[in-house]
Subunit: 359 residues, 2 copies
């Protein structure tokens, strides 16, 4: 999935060039490219599909020239993840009714790639032989209020074991929205909560059954394309029909309703890189806990800052503590890291007040 | 005089494009252009000479196309103000032994232009008929530690009156270097101290006499050019000889030694615009005492800041109090206004550490 706009990463992430296309870690490759290369270790190139907004077709083709043209699925409108995943699922089912699918965001960081691939294969094996919809669950290392949480049943895990199921895989009791700090601390202390990383593993046919049961409108819509998927008429069908789909996430549409949701706890060095602070937390820091992407930096009494500059630009900074400093194209942003949840709103306000050049 | 580098205004003022050439007030004209236009009210265009570094010849010609080519005096080296003023003085004397001269920096702000012109004419009349070297003195409005001070003799003023001299013009007792705050407060309280604005008025022949007496090395050097000034050989002479001059200011070479220095107190809305804080002090401020040059500004809990951005750039800033924020070409600077005296040193350090692209 590579259709988002990453607005909490504004002003670096913009509508015309969102976060997944940016070399945000400074490694020379975008998050999308890193994600693609990771999945090449799970399945062959011809089985990798990129789900993105129609406006990003050229960006995807430029960054991933090896991906088959027919495997780039273009969403003509932004209707959240449920229709996006349904489209891919029904198109895949038309080719291969036995397919198993991994659904993953393209803009996350996964440091322990080998562990990740092991977990994915473990989950695929479970999904192949059980009527189960799986999600990877990340063991929380701190009471983060920026993530959704998964509550799982310990006793169900034991029961699974009695039934000869893989004990690491837990039955999910509930999905929890982003909590306040106190609640998050409770979750972390309780020991049976995981972060929801938005990485799903299931048999395509089982997900279709779930759409039939819990999101019949979406099911009907995307079933009506069964005769045109993987033909010359697919693009026109999607152009016409996709925007009529409900605008809803896969979490709301399916995961929070279905009773066959499982989670596999995974310690994979994961971050959703959702915000500047999350990038700051995982990046290499200097002795004053500053993170920056320029070699020409002159800092004085400056601590715990996240500094992102255009290539070739220098910064001279004195007296900032716990700030985000981003200089990107036509925007300079200097914002307290502790208030970064406001950035998304500020970006919208800038566009409303001053125009789309800031979107 | 338009040869300085304005390094306290870094990174906006650069070696290749220093402060006097910048439209620093956002009026559409550079400080040099504003100064030139001001002096057109004092004397005709053909009597205006621009003294600058050879490297800025093209900048001067581009910004002041009406100035005569022969009136642009190019210094092949940076040897401070004494040789620069001697060169112009001796060249002028070669043409007109009776000339009176006004020497002025090209990068200052003067808000009360009519008062300024009146004072200049008053000083010129005094200099014409007295063996006096005059400097404009600015009545101090605060104990500024960034300026040099002129101590004048009240009783000498009275004695002048008895002698029928213009009473407003005072005999100078001493020049004082930039003081510490306590000293500056003493000066302001005492009532007979003025800021030294570096604006001088004298008869060229009287200044030459002072060079003969107090700076004979400079006098000999520039007298040796008397036969080539205003001929085709002048440029070669200056190229060869100018760099051999002592590197010294007119203040040290003449003013602090001569006994015929007078000052005319002038309330002309003056600022040397020497630093970002001085620009902040005179510019239009918003309700939170912020000064900025972009219309697309989103400030929150930000007070007393000086924000200078490239044309077309927006800023989103929260939580800065009393900061200078300058985004210019390859440098972003965020610095506490109270520490701005460090900026000159920081700019030198940047060049030493990272290269001349920051000079």
């Amino acid at each position: 999935m590579a259709g988002g706009v990453g607005s909490r990463f504004w002003p670096k992430s913009r509508n015309h060039f969102p976060k997944q296309f940016i070399d945000i870690l400074g490694t020379g490759e975008s998050l999308l490219q890193l994600t693609y290369q990771r999945f090449l270790k799970v399945c062959p190139n011809e089985n990798i599909m990129i789900l993105t907004n129609a406006g990003y077709a050229d960006l995807v083709k430029a960054q991933l020239p090896a991906v088959l043209e027919d495997n780039i699925l273009l969403e003509p409108s932004r209707n959240n993840t449920a229709p996006c995943i349904a489209y891919a699922t029904y198109k895949i089912l038309q080719k291969n009714p036995e397919a198993n699918i991994v659904v993953a965001p393209s803009d996350h960081l996964i440091l322990k790639e080998d562990v990740f691939i092991g977990k994915i294969n473990q989950a695929l094996a479970f999904a192949e032989s059980n009527d189960a919809l799986l999600t990877l669950g990340i063991s929380p290392t701190r009471p983060d209020t920026g993530y959704g949480y998964i509550e799982y049943l310990e006793d169900e895990g034991a029961r699974n074991k009695e039934q000869g199921l893989e004990t690491e895989i837990k039955k999910v009791a509930a999905f929890k929205e982003k909590p306040v700090l106190e609640k998050a601390q409770e979750y972390v202390n309780s020991g049976n909560y995981l972060w929801n990383a938005g990485i799903f593993i299931w048999k395509a046919a089982n997900l279709q059954k779930a759409f039939e049961k819990y999101a019949p409108e979406i099911d009907t819509l995307f079933k009506s394309g069964n005769e045109v998927y993987n033909t010359a008429d697919e693009a026109q069908f999607i152009m016409d029909q996709y925007p009529t789909s409900p605008d809803i996430s896969i979490d709301y549409a399916i995961l929070e309703k279905a009773d066959n949701i499982y989670t596999l706890p995974a310690d994979i060095g994961w971050s959703d890189l959702g915000t500047w602070a999350s990038l700051h937390a995982i990046a290499e820091q200097d002795e004053q806990q500053n993170v920056y992407n320029s070699e020409h930096i002159h800092l004085n009494e400056t601590r715990n800052c996240m500094i992102n500059l255009p290539k070739g630009k220098a910064a001279v900074i004195r007296g900032l503590d716990n700030f985000i400093v981003v200089d990107d194209e036509n925007v300079l942003m200097i914002y307290p890291k502790s208030e970064e949840q406001e950035i998304k709103g500020v970006s919208k306000e800038m566009v409303a007040r001053f125009g789309s050049q800031y979107s």
